[in-house]
Amino acid sequence: MRRLGLCLLLLAGAALRADELERPRTWIDSASGHRVVVFPRSWIDPDTGHRVTQLSTEPGSACLYFTQYCFTAGGAKMVMTTPRGIDLVALRTGEIEHVFQGADRRVLQTGRRSGAIYYTSGGWLCTYDPATRETRQRVKLPAGGAVFSVNSDETLVAGSLTVGGERRELSQRRPPQPRGGYQLGDGVQLGDISPSKHAQMDRRFDAHLPMVLFTLDLRTGAYRELLRTTDWIDHFQFSPTDPGLLMYAHEGRQWRLDRIWLIRADQERPEPRLVHQRTMKMELAVHEYWSADGRWIWYDLQKPISEDCWIAGYNPYTQERRWYHLPPDRWSVHYNTSPDGKLFSGDGSDPIGTDELAMAINAKWIFLFRPELVPDQPGETPDQARMIRAGRLVPEKLVNLSEHDYSIEPNAQFTPDGQWLIFRSNFHGPIEVYAVEVARAK
């Protein structure tokens, strides 16, 4: 009897210890009198049942923007930026390699064929090969030009320049510091949301500065102009599978423009093709990205803003359209798609503390969305073949982000094996990179 009691006590103790590992530990520091909280490195979110693991080890770390391909070593490793420089993290072990020190490099993406890290430094596009640790200067950037996207076979990089340069008063001002601080060396993600952002965007939009969309040949360095325009163009994304197909955006307040365009980088005098035509005031199509197979462009469609939200898709090869409807209050800052195209993610959102106009209530979560097509009823008519195919998204909560400050965008991306979603968050204070498991913990 005494023995049984002891066993039970031991079992209870063991359970308690295992459980405690997954909980924040907190105490009052005797010297300073401050409360100290140590968060676990891996835990099961009690509100969702999904395992969350912290990948970064340095406060102020970040994953790349949600559209930037960031995987290498056959999908086993991922690029992160830290206050110190650029790291690679092994997704399975959490082992971290410091690739670069310093804040003078801006990462574009990893190469889909070679796995090299593409970055710009000192007016050059450079590559770092994680396998050989070799660094190479690849092409010199044109004066005033910036590059953003490398095509799928790593023969071209796309970028833009403003003729005569950006006027200083139109350039981006550094917004107030968000909680958790900025991550250094990360020009794209710096200060996602700020009160002055929209006014500044309007000024830049109205200026109609002449711009050039160009490509550089990574073998010859040849500069080629694809487009000259006075529209404000931005967000260049090559197809992940078609080396000649480039998506770009007309930047500005999204209800004032038709944003998403396609252009062929492998044709003479290519004509831009509009992906989504607005038909409603205050309708917007934004936050576009490619499916992993390059067959679909997906985007955040609000018709109108905040009231009726979709993840909309366009197939540039068949002109098919699919629109998945979001249930109320599930609008998310960004969406993403799993490598097999079967699942979507959403970063959630918070109307408080940002000046986003979309207002979703109780949406501070990382979401998984399962798409369902609305079934056709019997008796299809010929005109239906050209129509939008509608569906809906069934949400599942993955991570409670109630403590997250959404002035930092989570930028969720699926891992190449589709089993985890990578995101950044400041919900424990400093910005760190996390992964949440798509499957529920056993």
């Binding site: 309007d202 005031k281 205050m282 609305v374 129509m387």
Partner: protein, 424 residues
């Protein structure tokens, strides 16, 4: 004696007739509900049929079992039997004269509810039906269909036919069964029967064919203010057709104009109706079916479009608009019966429209775009006990202060009105 009988209705008007009919404040909504029909099995008209007379003070009700016609004085609840000869099918009341237009035995009649005198106007064309009278009461519109054995066999409520009584004593309503009705609609649409849209001159009896073809045409509704403007529907399962069309009835060779073009599979535009001022055609828009609900509006004068979004997946069998155009009504719905799986929707609703504000910096292309808004719903009547196989057919009273509807929520079918303002 005869003169005394003639006096009786007048005397009845002086009596506190309202006291005889139930009236209560819905405890769940705080809105007053008044019963308007004195006899059982009396119904209000379809939500698009103009039903008011005597300057808007009285409303037509029908007795489908007999084909008789009653009139209720809205202020007092007094019921009058204005037509008792049976087998009449009411088209609508005249917006100019207040006459009750009805079809019986192949002829169109105008009944003066004050004198209860009927006047035979024109013969309805063979194989034809009449659905609408224009605003100056010079034209009627309808369709002629050849060889239609499909809908005739299937549509239960033919002229004066007795409704079936379901087990439990509830009268069978508009939806005999979704399966039967939809199968019939598919057969009828696929049959591509010769079908013509016509008008008939009420003074001369001249018939004019506006549209001729094999589309299934239906639901003619003249503009309430423009005597030459008519909307009509391409009938059928709504995801197979572009349904709502406009045509000028006063121009030779007029071309029909499509009011709403579908762009999505399983998108539907249905249950269209006119605004009281004749400026807007409103319709139930679903993008797609049962998922995303709107009331879409098209302005026939300037081509503007306004779409009001229904919040939270709420869908209503029918919508209607107040005479001043500032409020909408919705009949609610029941997921047990309807495709739409709206939660907590078995209510009569008041829908307050709000436009989504434009942000600064309008661009020229926005002028041609749809203006979107949303409805803010308010519950008017709890219809938890209503069997939605009977459509409530909500419509505003001409003074805009009441929404009139029919319901079986108290057992037998009756006509009720709910006050738009909350009870004090």
């Amino acid at each position: 004696m005869k003169s005394l009988l003639r006096l009786l209705p007048a005397l009845a008007g002086l009596l506190p007739a309202r006291a005889a009919l139930p009236s209560w404040v819905d405890p769940d909504t705080g809105h007053r509900v008044v019963q308007l029909s004195a006899d059982p099995s009396v119904e209000s008209l379809y939500f698009t049929q103009y039903a008011f007379t005597a300057g808007g003070s009285k409303m037509v009700m029908t007795v489908p079992r007999t084909g008789n016609i009653d009139v209720v004085t809205l202020a007092t609840g007094e019921n009058e039997h204005v037509y008792t000869e049976g087998r009449a099918r009411v088209v609508q009341t005249g917006r100019k004269t207040g006459a009750i237009y009805y079809v019986k035995g192949g002829y169109l009649y105008a009944l003066d509810p004050a004198t209860k005198q009927s006047r035979q106007l024109v013969k309805v064309p063979d194989n034809g039906g009449i659905a609408a009278i224009n605003c100056d009461e010079t034209l009627a519109a309808g369709t002629i269909t050849l060889n239609d054995h499909i809908s005739k066999d299937s549509i239960r409520r033919k002229e004066g036919a007795a409704p079936k009584i379901l087990p439990g004593g509830i009268e069978q309503g508009d939806i005999p069964s979704q399966v039967d009705k939809h199968a019939m609609m598919d057969r009828r649409l696929a049959a591509r029967l010769p079908c013509s849209l016509f008008t008939i001159d009420l003074r001369t009896g001249a018939v004019k064919i506006l549209v001729q073809g094999t589309d299934w045409l239906n639901h003619q509704q003249f503009s309430p203010t423009d005597p030459g403007l008519l909307i009509y529907a391409h009938e059928g399962r709504q995801w197979k057709v572009d349904r709502v069309w406009l045509i000028r009835a006063d121009r030779d060779g007029a071309k029909p104009m499509l009011v709403h073009q579908r762009t999505m599979r399983m998108e539907i535009a249905v249950h269209e109706f006119w605004s009281n001022d004749g400026q807007w055609v409103w319709y139930d828009l679903q993008t797609p079916l049962s998922e995303d609900f709107w009331v879409g509006g098209y302005n026939v004068k300037d081509g503007r479009r306004v779409w009001y979004h229904l919040p939270g997946g709420l869908w209503m069998v029918h919508y209607n608009v107040s005479p001043d155009g500032t409020l909408f009504s919705g009949d609610g719905s029941d997921p047990q019966i309807h495709y739409a799986q709206s939660k907590d929707a078995k209510w009569m609703f008041l829908l307050r429209p709000e436009l989504i504000p434009d942000q600064p910096g309008e661009t020229p292309d926005q002028a041609h775009m749809i203006q979107a808004g949303r409805f803010v719903p308010e519950k008017l009547v709890n219809l938890a006990k209503h069997d939605y196989s009977l459509e409530p057919n909500g419509m505003f009273s001409p003074d805009g202060k009441w929404v009139i509807f029919r319901s079986n929520f108290r057992g037998p079918i009756g006509v009720f009105a709910v006050e738009v303002a909350k009870a004090k």
